[in-house]
């Protein structure tokens, strides 16, 4: 098939007009577009509004309170089998909270084996997952997740409820700002980077919105307001 | 805004060409006469070259560029004096203003085509932006449905000019049909080549115009008028479309 490559590239290189900017177009090719920037209080307001518009539930909380709030969510959603990351700080605090809670039926399950041997359990038994969030994007109400060996890709996809812990101090204005901050262009990209803006949804049947098409039906974001306003 | 209008009013040309378009010539001459009367009333000397025929758009849109060039070239030669060319149809105006330059791109007449293009104005655009015309309504109260052609809306971007002219007529209330920006289905040869699709579009447009409850439909393009009036008549809808120039002149004549 390497001849296919050579043929394609040869045809492209033999084009007499390699520039696609034909004369009639050139005038429209000038732009002063910039990604949006927000001031401090406005940034979080925009994030919250956009994420809620995408049907995510936002719970504002504090560094001390969030584990307790997680227990309340678990109780109200009847979460029994809970996928978590035992090697993260937030995973440890969840563990401690579960231990400290009396009359608790919650079973915490780590994603500690390859998906091949974990599929049945993952797809059929888990009620919810709990993950950290790398950053947030205010413009679009987006959570940025960088899955790795401790928080694999499917954690935020397969369980019916995804609960994410987000710190306001990681909130950025735009996707462009994220790309710059992560230095992906120079340092390279992680295996997988995910922008998540709300629970899974579809409008493929007569434009009627339905949630939980394939992924989570619910996305709950615990927000720690760790920025003084 | 006022300053620019005043400035262009100061630079008002004393003479213009009038390019009547082939549809107006044969089917709607009264619209052409009305437009000329409007211009003359503003003190403009209007030249109507008798050798004018068609802008060449039908052949161009059908992909017959050689034929389009042959006919367009005659108009370019004919309209050679450096005075504005006024066209009472956005689609023909767009042909001359926007498509002549590409059509003649590698042609010996390229620079002449570009020069002509720079002098082409759609009628309402010229009345509003160059002449800054004032109208006094002498007619009785009426409700009209405004139909802006796709060329007026998109290629020439003169939608607002048509509206601002009619808004000066105090006794006229304007309504727009639902989905105003959707094509009426004319499209020149499209109506002949795809009569079924064209008719479905025209039928929807006529129904939307009918639903406005207006007693008249006004448009600045005779292609749309011919199409919509044809359907209105065939379906006995009792609304008739009229060219904007005729409507204005009838209501403002002393």
């Amino acid at each position: 098939m390497s001849s296919a490559k050579a043929n394609i590239l040869n045809r492209l290189r033999s084009a007499t007009t390699p520039s696609s900017t034909t004369k009639s177009d050139t005038q429209s090719i000038s732009t002063s577009w910039k990604p949006p920037g927000y001031d401090q209080p406005e940034r979080f307001a925009r994030f919250k509004e956009a994420l809620q518009a995408s049907h995510a539930e936002i719970i504002e909380t504090s560094e001390d309170e969030w584990p307790k709030q997680l227990m309340e969510i678990a109780a109200s959603k009847c979460i029994a089998q809970w996928l978590y990351n035992p090697s993260s700080e937030s995973g440890l605090r969840l563990e401690q909270q579960v231990v400290a809670t009396t009359q608790c039926n919650i079973q915490l399950i780590p994603y500690d084996q390859p998906v091949e041997s974990f599929k049945t359990e993952l797809f059929n038994q888990i009620d919810a997952s709990f993950t950290d969030v790398e950053a947030g994007i205010a413009e679009t109400g987006t959570l940025v997740l960088l899955p790795d060996q401790d928080e694999p890709r499917l954690m935020s996809l397969v369980p019916p409820i995804h609960i994410a812990l987000f710190r306001e101090s990681t909130l950025l204005n735009s996707f462009s700002e994220l790309i710059a901050q992560q230095q992906w262009s120079t340092q390279g990209m992680p295996t997988n980077a995910l922008l998540i803006s709300g629970p899974s949804k579809t409008a493929d049947i007569q434009q009627t919105l339905a949630y939980g098409a394939h992924g989570p039906k619910e996305l709950i974001v615990l927000v720690i307001r760790d920025i003084q306003t | 805004m006022t300053t620019t209008a005043n400035m262009s009013a100061k630079q008002q040309p004393s003479q213009v060409y009038f390019f009547g378009t082939c549809l107006i010539d044969l089917f709607y001459p009264e619209a052409g006469l009305s437009a000329i009367e409007l211009l003359e009333r503003e003190g403009i000397q209007v030249h109507y070259p008798q050798a004018q025929t068609c802008c060449g758009q039908p052949a161009f849109n059908s992909g017959y560029n050689d034929e389009a060039i042959a006919v367009a070239a005659k108009q370019i030669e004919l309209l050679s004096d450096p005075i504005p060319v006024i066209v009472p149809s956005a689609s023909c105006a767009a042909m001359m203003k926007h498509h002549y330059p590409t059509l003649f791109e590698n042609h010996p007449m390229s620079s002449k085509a570009n020069e002509l293009a720079s002098r082409v104005y759609e009628l309402t655009e010229f009345l509003v932006r160059v002449l800054d015309i004032s109208l006094t309504d002498k007619g009785t109260p009426v409700k009209i449905a405004m139909h802006t052609s796709c060329s007026a809306r998109r290629e020439m971007a003169v939608t607002e000019d048509g509206f601002s002219l009619i808004r000066q007529l105090k006794n006229v209330s304007i309504v727009e049909p639902e989905r105003a920006s959707e094509c009426c289905g004319f499209g020149g040869t499209f109506a002949i080549k795809q009569p079924e699709i064209s008719a479905a579009m025209a039928e929807d447009k006529c129904q939307a115009i009918h639903n406005t409850g207006a007693s008249k439909m006004i448009s600045g393009d005779c292609g749309c008028l011919m199409n919509l009036n044809g359907v209105m008549e065939k379906t006995n809808r009792g609304i008739k479309g009229e060219h904007l120039a005729s409507f204005i002149i009838d209501r403002t004549r002393t």
Partner: protein, 477 residues
């Protein structure tokens, strides 16, 4: 085989249910787009930027493709090149059969439709299951997508309810959308965990980092590219972009133009297969780069603009013809304005030239295109090539094949008439004099409209009379 666009359009126009389904959907999608672009000046700037990014990309296309390949290989993604649909299918089949794969789950990919992948694999005993809800519905009904981003847009929920009842065992009729989606979810989740291979398209392939980007709302794309041990992505060579910085504006244009969303639920950036220690993600990732006529489009300075397309579907959503006849009437993989430009260039003007006639050149498509492709101009250009004289230089296959002697003769007659002012004046004068004898029936025109009748006197005649009167006036004074 020649495409029968007009006949299919007539059938579609006569189906009131179909007309309703499309009208509702198009009104919905137009309103959604409008609400996403409230600031017209910002939209103008963003479209200009989208245009610029794609134009700059195309200007460096061969170099960027090589850079993309190099960086993908470095990341562990295997890259394959295919000139034709057959080559693309063969490459994919070879990957699947090398691991004895039986079941492939697919994310939404128009390029996979373009190469006829499902059919190819099924003929070779491999189940190829669509997992996007709309695609799943369409596949269940044995149909093809009628829209590039909303594949089942031609069906009402009642029609889908009947389909599920008929085709899925143990499912009773319900037109409750949540229940219908729940049924699809349940069936497809089972398949995701069983599948050997996941197949997806690509929205943007980033050359500088070797990253494949996927835009979706449902999560089936993430399932397909994460659960099975092999992921095969297929895309057209025009989907490459130079840098990550190009992505945010293009993504914003794409989702807002398509469905009026500021961003899709998921934006999935895949840069390598599963690394040591990672628990999920495919063991191997393949990228298939498809040409299928694109490098030929690239040779024509006008038609090259086709390759700017980011497949948002806004052109069809705003097309008054598509809105009335729907996607299937075009009889091609890509329908609507972009289909009218792409398909004749891929399949040839001899096969798909006729569909360029299904356009009133009203310009609505070009007005909304997020990368400013002048679609009406390109449709006009293809009409020109379709009926070009045999000595033409057009590169598009089938150029000149649709030149009909009768039509060419009619236009030369037209040229004679409108090119000779004296003849024109004579003929129009005759027409006004014989106005009562003017034809009552003019083909399709008068089937739906009354015939236009020439005026008693043409404008030429009225103006020359006026000039004469003025002269006599002047003389008598």
């Amino acid at each position: 085989m020649n495409n029968h666009f007009r006949e299919q359009a007539i059938d579609a126009l006569a189906d009131p249910q179909l007309r309703d389904n499309f009208r509702g959907a198009m009104d919905f999608l137009r309103a959604k787009r409008q609400s996403a672009f409230t600031d017209t000046e910002a939209l103008k700037q963003l479209r200009a930027l989208g245009h610029k990014i794609k134009a700059n990309t195309l200007a460096r296309l061969p170099d960027l493709l090589e850079q993309l390949e190099q960086n993908c290989l470095q990341n562990g993604i295997q890259v394959h090149w295919a000139e034709t649909p057959e080559q693309a299918c063969e490459v994919i089949h070879n990957i699947i059969s090398a691991q004895n794969g039986q079941l492939a789950v697919k994310g939404k990919s128009m390029v996979s439709e373009e190469v006829g992948l499902n059919h190819y694999l099924e003929k070779r005993g491999i189940e190829s299951l669509e997992s996007d809800m709309g695609e799943y519905i369409v596949q269940l009904a044995n149909e093809t997508p009628s829209h590039i981003i909303m594949p089942a847009i031609h069906k009402s929920k009642e029609q889908i309810a009947h389909l599920f009842e008929d085709k899925i065992e143990g499912v009773d009729y319900t037109d409750n959308v949540d229940e219908l989606i729940g049924t699809g979810r349940q069936i497809l989740r089972e398949k995701f965990s069983q599948a050997d291979v996941g197949i997806s398209g690509v929205n943007f392939a980033v050359a500088e980092t070797g990253t494949l980007c996927l835009v979706e709302n449902e999560g089936n794309g993430r399932m397909c590219t994460t659960v099975p041990s092999t992921h095969i992505a297929i895309t057209g060579i025009e989907k490459v972009v130079a840098t990550l910085d190009d992505i945010p504006p293009l993504l914003s244009l794409l989702t807002r133009s398509a469905t009026g969303q500021n961003i899709s639920t998921y934006f999935n950036m895949i840069s390598s297969p599963r690394k040591t220690g990672e628990k999920d993600g495919p063991q191997s990732v393949h990228l298939v780069l498809l040409d299928n006529g694109r490098s030929r489009m690239y040779q024509d300075e006008n038609l090259q603009q086709t390759l700017r397309c980011i497949r948002c579907g806004a052109c069809m959503n705003h097309c008054p013809v598509y809105s009335r006849i729907g996607g299937h009437a075009y009889g091609t993989v890509y329908p609507g304005p972009i289909g009218q430009v792409v398909m004749p260039q891929i399949d040839g003007l001899d096969k798909q030239g006729e569909m360029t006639e299904g356009c009133s050149l009203n310009g609505a498509c070009g007005e909304v295109c997020p990368v400013e492709i002048p679609l009406p101009n390109l449709i006009r250009k293809l009409r020109e090539q379709k009926s070009a004289k045999p000595d033409g230089h057009a590169l598009t296959p089938g150029a000149g094949s649709q030149r009909k002697p009768k039509e060419a003769f009619a236009w030369s007659l037209w040229q004679t008439l409108y090119g000779q002012p004296w003849l024109y004046r004579f003929v129009t004068k005759m027409a006004t004099r014989l106005r009562h004898a003017s034809p009552r029936a003019i083909g399709g025109w008068t089937r739906y409209r009354t015939a236009p009748k020439p005026a008693p006197k043409s404008l030429h005649e009225l103006m020359s009379q006026r000039a004469e009167a003025n002269q006599t006036d002047g003389a008598s004074k």
